[in-house]
Amino acid sequence: MGDVLSGLATGFGVALMPFNLMLVLLGCFAGTLIGALPGLGPINGVAILLPIAYGLGFPPESALILLAGIYYGAEYGGRISSILLNVPGDSGAVMTTLDGHPMALNGEAGRALSLSAVASFVGGTIAVVLMSLFGPLLAQFAVTFSPANYVALMVFAFASLASLVGKSTVKTLLGALIGLMLATIGIDSNTGVARYTFGLPDILAGIDFLIVVVGLFGMAELLHLVEQQVTGKLKTLPVDKSFVRWADLAKTKWTILRCSLIGFFIGVLPGTGASVASAVAYGTEKRMAGAEGQRTFGTGDVRGLAAPEAANNAAAGGAMVPMLTLGIPGSGTTAILLGALLMFNIQPGPLMFAQRPEIAWGLIASMYIGNVALLVINLPLVGLFARMLTIPQHYLTPLIAILAFVGIYSIVGNPFDLFMITWLGIFGWFLRKLDFSLAPVILGFVLGGLFENNLRRALSISGGDWYILIDNWKSLLLYGLALLVVVLPIWMGRRARNMAEGDA
């Protein structure tokens, strides 16, 4: 406990420096704007702005605080387009449309927006508090991990990814493999042998992380927007003067609390982020509301709005835990933040709390501040953010391309990279069209080097004996969890189907 308090003191010392405080506010504001744009979710926002934040030459903790603010703000802003437009900014905000949009249709847009802001705030704050309590403990435990344990941890991460993310397990797994394969391009750091470079000097050092991120997310998103353009005009509902009432808060307080906890723990699971958390939270609340809930959920029930919002913001915080303590990101967006840390030559993981406390704790403290700031920004300024929804797509689309080009070119000034992001964008667009989710690809790409190096290190320790991978209880526990996370959803799905058949 004393560690946590002194850590937090360090953290607030960093986060409250005027420059960093300004970046938190700026990041939250920009993030909310990006999140509010229809179709641009947190992951695309962070992806497009990452190279620019890197190019500004800030110290690592400041750049990270800025990016985390954007990430956080975008999770917050996503609800605006969900409620007013019925268009979720990303998969995490899908559940918000179910009850949020009906409320807006009933002329209660202001009430829906303010209630969801409060729910998001509570979810986010609970997650940060839990994170500052459990993060250091997990880090202390993770210090004892051997390379073989890390291999098991990766297997667990990819297993939970494959089973919980996306529509098809095989496609998610293949997505992660594509990421892992992309990560093998370049010179092998152990032996100096060039792999898959085909003599191109531009990729000798591997494909730059930023290029993969901007290509797969920014540029693929751009093509997606161009494709959607033809499908007609979106109609924004007006924000009225109605506001959240005490009765709403009293009615939803347990919902918000429960869903924050659900969201946090699902967010902690490696590979699963806000989308799974909000779906599970919504389902749980609907079931708990009983027969009356079956009728009102989906028609503008305040609980149905509060549940996914609390959960997805709690998950956004939860996803930071494995990223900071184990070096294994909990979601696609945190994978990007992890990559950002690596670019600053900081290896996230158990030692980060001891070696770079100003970064680990500074980030956590900035999330406390960010949460408060977002609530304060969001309640009065929601009308301004809502106006963002009316920005015509024909200006937004070229703007994304220009930002992406500026960001990528400003890293090393190599025009070859501009072609790379375009090609990767086309590839990413096809993946999206075929129902592959892109988060596994980026997770695979970020973890590729770590996975391979730990496997090779483990086998070097054992002298080539593969038995080392399973001769330790920690590894066995992780493999057991991996098996559980794959088998459990299948088993539960089958049971649900059997019960449904039994009813009929």
Binding site: L174, L180, N190, T191, Q229, P392, H394, S460, G463
Partner: protein, 154 residues
Amino acid sequence: MADRIFAGLLLLVTLAYGFIAFTIIKAPFQYDPLGPESWPQILSVVAVLCILGILWKPDTEHLHVAGRTWFRLGAMVVLLFAYAELYEPLGFIVSTILFGAIVARMLGAAWLRAGLFGLCAGVLGWVLCVEILDLNLPDAELLAKPYSNTEGTN
């Protein structure tokens, strides 16, 4: 069908990837039990299994993209490549004005507004990114300063 075509192409790429892993990559000497080729070998085998799974049971039949949309997407990609190609020769300002105006026009803005948007994006973008944020962007090699040193790579 769309799934099968894509999976088929991926299979070809993966087989080539695996072929390189199993035959070409080799360290001249090494002390570790796993060399640079082992990891790609494992990946290629697992990936081939996944692809065969998709070929066996595809779930996406069509892409549901109309002919006109294909045309629009194609035009967008061509414009992106052109933007990338001209980024250094024309410099940031001119290429961005052209790109912004043409894309905005293509996506439905009126000529005048599209042109204005391009102009704003190019000029304000330059002021913001280069003058204020001090990022490294290309100035016009061909147009303005043929002798200035634009190799800002470091």
